[in-house]
Symmetry: T
Subunit: 149 residues, 12 copies
């Protein structure tokens, strides 16, 4: 399968490793990318890994993924809870999408318990730190029929 | 009247014709622009037709319209339901504005029934597909006193 | 097309022109009927224009429209916000229906923001005064494939 | 003052005296009319006293009162809690209106605590049985400047 | 027992058999009347079967039933969910009343789950199509002590 | 009848005539007292007229009224909407109580629509300015069987 | 038809006849079983009648009914209002199910007005005491095409 | 590591493969156990796999797991949304727990969007069918420091 | 008085002393039983002390207590907040019941502030640890007229 | 221990014994004081017993108790449900506080189910009449380590 | 400008410096007064600084301020969230008022996020400890046109 | 102190002085910058003053401020009420932040009363026009220990 998995990250995730390391750990977003790439490689899958603080840019990338990606992993950060625009972009894609979160959002403030995006994804994984991304790649791989190498 | 009508389109409307054609039809956003332009021409009106996935850019354009446009048609897509920023931009304009939607939003999910923008517009038109835009142009034309040619 | 468009008006619309003219304008309901008839004639369509203060009578007329009309324009006035009976009558018709309002209901009291009827109509038009009716007729004409003469 | 006060009564008030006399007393609606007429006569005022079970008919009568009455007393019964149509009719009248209830509605079910009509009246009187009507007439008389004979 | 059971039907039930037959079946309201009459005859009971689209007329009939009927079956249709006036009429009757619905209202929209009338009836039966009426007659017969013939 | 009617006034009513005269009129609280006394005298009733800004003092007075008054008129001002303590004091009295308001509270902010006190009173009168007090005295007089002189 | 109707009863129904007889009558649950059996026999139907206080056991029985019963009558008592597990068991059955209640639940506390189970049943019958069960059996019989003997 | 992972399944999961296979697939609960066991073996972990329809039994097993298990995977089915008792049992365990669901609960009814259990788990995985269990085992393995063999 | 007081404990209370000792203390449930027994003995009362994780079993025991106990102390743990079945069992008993909690539930999560059971008990005691049970026994003893020895 | 327990009583509790004796019993507030003093004496504790109808005075006394009392029993009456000021005073004290009520507030109106004070107390006791005070004193005594004499 | 600024403090603020010093700091209310006086002196303004635990007394002082003060700073403490009486007093003043809080109320319990008073003030300042008062004085000074000396 | 204070302004604030001058005054955003700079200079502080209509850009700037600024003043305009992304950016900074608004948001529409940002700031200042910025700078200066020159 030649198209990559897009792994899209929302606002403030670029601060990973610097912000509240006791909560989010010391891994940086680059570390996440590297671990996800290695995991994807097990299934002979490539990844395209990006981050943006701007809602509209994430919408752009999801639209791009419609033709350029075989699957999508999205950690929309704060936009998870507020963005109907990202929901609509996901609804307009036919490729499978998995929602991930580093932390267990259900242990945080009430307003973080609601996700606009979950209903447009095949599934949700949260709470396992960087491992959440690996599990999401693995779930996508199974859905895509990619064999673990 | 030398200033054009600004017709501004929000997130994911650039996918028109590709996304759920059974719902939104096969017309593309270019088709919408063309039909709106022809309709406006009946009233000797020009149009300036744009689309953006970014909330802030739509705010920029509405601010620009304050001095550059004679009227405004806005289909803010998903931002209709979440953007106070666009509401505030509309509140700061003196030119007449019409809110349009391709689909009948009241037949969709509950959260799409609320629009932050309606109260800042002179009126709302939804559910008629591309025809919604023609009707909006026509309503503006009447308000502006433009005569059908 | 030999069947007319039914244009049904709900409670207190018979006071049009007398009640709060600064809000609703000086046009009377007869004026609305005349303008709507002229507009419909452009599309070779006739209209049947009625008003009632009684919910049950409006239900009767919608039922009648099932076989006697080719389309329906409804301004249910106050019943818009309270009548499930009118909703059910609309749900039982196969002809296309358009909901109209003279004023922009979204600029008024909170309880006027909810319409029981919108989900049973193909679309909604509000805020343009008498022009709302012309636009509704035009939208129906397009839906019915009636050509502007 | 030659125009009468309209005293309009809503659904089921025609059962007065027969229904739950331990709550509503043994006076019939005719008794209420007679006492109200006598009270009004003190202020040289006539009354026009009516009852209907149909919302639309009450709307008709309020519209009629716009030109035929000098004031309005309304006990809309159950429609108090559900009718926006009656509210709109009241909003369209310029003559002073008083809302009355025989029972103290605030001691009854929660849904009877809300009245759509109160905000369109100059005042509200409830809980005093037939006396509520006399007080309402008296309040109107003061507002109208009618002198007690 | 010489007084009949009143069976009262609310708005749009006159369309039965024509409207969404896949939901409501092909039986017409006349068929319902005939089946209910036959069923009642088993218990030596007569029926008086009526339909109206007007809330006030239903109130009138319930008031009439106070002295003319031995029991009441009511399918208030859409007014079930909005009419305090019908509730009050039922509260003012001493004869037993049963609320029926053709469809299972709890499988439909949220706003159809609430009935103003249930608390004023001895019981509720819904979801069994025309059979709902037969069961209601049977339940009334037991309450009235009428013996099945 | 030798015991007086207590007429108790809550916070800020001492400012009457100075505060928003376009709303509350130019009458002072002394004027209200004088008019209420004259009205009561018609029924051979005395009044005891007081005002306090302190919730506890109003509770004290209502307790005092249990043995010293024949009836109670209360305009609790802002405490109407917040005081369970005053409600409890009223619940502990056996003498009849009437709730009054100068303005029509239902035309004001949402939080002024709810009264803790209404359910503990025989009735409510609001919206008639100083006349509200006269009507309340009159309603009490009828309840007490006091004859107009 | 050789498979029986399962009639399942939830918590505290074993106390029938002992608990609040003025509400629930003097019939015991054995009496209910006997009357239901006789009624079913009219339609050549057998019944399997059980009661449990444990939610999980009721789930077990509904699962068993999937292959062992031709229809289901369920009075889940208090679990009606709290059990998603029983809802899911019902959703997993293909045989027709009827929800019954002895009392009119809509005349009781607010939290008893909501049933998790209604949407998974073909219909609901409540308020007729033991007769509710007979009516439910009869409704099932009609659905199953069983002829009254 | 000699203690197994407990994998606990709630009500109706024993019907897996029989119930709505288009939603839940054709795998049975035994298949799930087998796949989970194989996956766990990769990390040299054993599993103890159980199902119960009874809330109290699930509480018992979680209490047992406190000393007998190294980790916990829980798919509490319907009890996810209603059981504070299971939440409390989880809060009383020190071993890591993962919440799983076969389906994407966020695409189902509103009441299935809330889980009492999520806040007591390290993370949540839903929507991937049987794969959800494998991912949960893998997440636990990482947390426990078990090496993939 | 020969019948004992039943003291019933709900889910997870068997973990007392092991679970969060900083919150619940080091006393075990056996310690609670012993202290309660000693306290009851002061009033010449016996106790029957039980614990279950299963809602249905607690319902069984409350039913048993109707004839076997002179009073009831219940700490339903998590079922306090979710069980209408236990409420109904309590409503069906004539013996006095006291609700107890070890911790002050009002200092915990919002959903623990509501108890279905309180309205069916003569009183509630919470927050005093094991002492809560002693106070409950003492309150029952007074109600039962048992004299402290 | 030389400092007394403060026992503070809120509005209308001075009417105890006169108000609704069928609910509150015939004991007066003096009787409560006497019984509480005797009970406290068992633990060699003195009491300081006060009542006020004024929220501010109760705040004053709680502030005074910070240095003058060893513990606090508070029955804030109606202020329980409305006073953040009393909550704040309690939060500012370090001495243990117990909230008591004579009646079982959970059997009364909905607005009496919420207490602002509970979270600032070590525990709550309600429903046992005068006995509630004895139990509160006893609970405080245990907390203070005072030995029963 | 000869009239002082009134600085009014609500319940429990007299405990400042003693209560939770880690939150509120070690400054006492006297310290606050001194710092505020010095700051006001910069603008040639005097202050009148008071504190009360009684809602009614604060109402009295605000009324007094209408004629005796040039401006008002109010920290109503707990009454901020519950007092409509203080709101009404503020609404009746024409002098400018500023609401202050020592702590950032938006970081505290939900019920402290709502202020009845904010809408009656020209602005709000919270979270800066004693500095909040200085800023409030400065804001008033600007509004009053007082020049910094 | 060599790092500046960042003063960040959200959507539509660039229109200041042009938009609703009767509300916002005639000062432009440049005027605000100039006055803030002068005020900061009193404390030997520099400012970096920016405005953007795009949520993501404001997030970028707050992230930049983490290392480049000594403090932050934020007027997020409409994003105050909708942006969790900006909240998260603020939560990730260690430098002190103050939220400001030109107008008193509590006098405006209900949805403007809630700020996502307040809980992440040390304090809030609103309602004083341009002066709000000066006060915010002054509050930051105190917090930072900067001495007024």
């Amino acid at each position: 399968m030649s198209k990559p998995i897009y792994i899209l990250n929302g606002p403030n995730l670029n601060l990973l490793g610097q912000r509240e390391p006791e909560v989010y750990g010391h891994a940086t977003l680059d570390d996440v990318r590297d671990r996800a790439a290695i995991w994807a490689a097990q299934f002979s899958l490539d990844i395209e890994f990006r981050q943006s603080n701007t809602e509209g840019e994430i919408v752009d990338w999801i639209q791009e993924a419609r033709s350029s990606a075989c699957g999508l992993v999205i950690n929309a950060g704060a936009y998870t809870h507020t963005s109907v625009a990202i929901l609509d972009a996901l609804l307009a894609t036919d490729i499978p999408c998995v929602e991930v979160h580093l932390s267990n959002v259900f242990q945080r403030e009430e307003f973080r318990h609601h996700s606009y995006l979950s209903s447009a994804c095949i599934g949700v994984i949260c709470g396992f730190g960087v491992k959440s991304y690996e599990l999401a790649v693995e779930a996508l791989a199974e859905r895509l029929g990619a064999a673990a190498s």
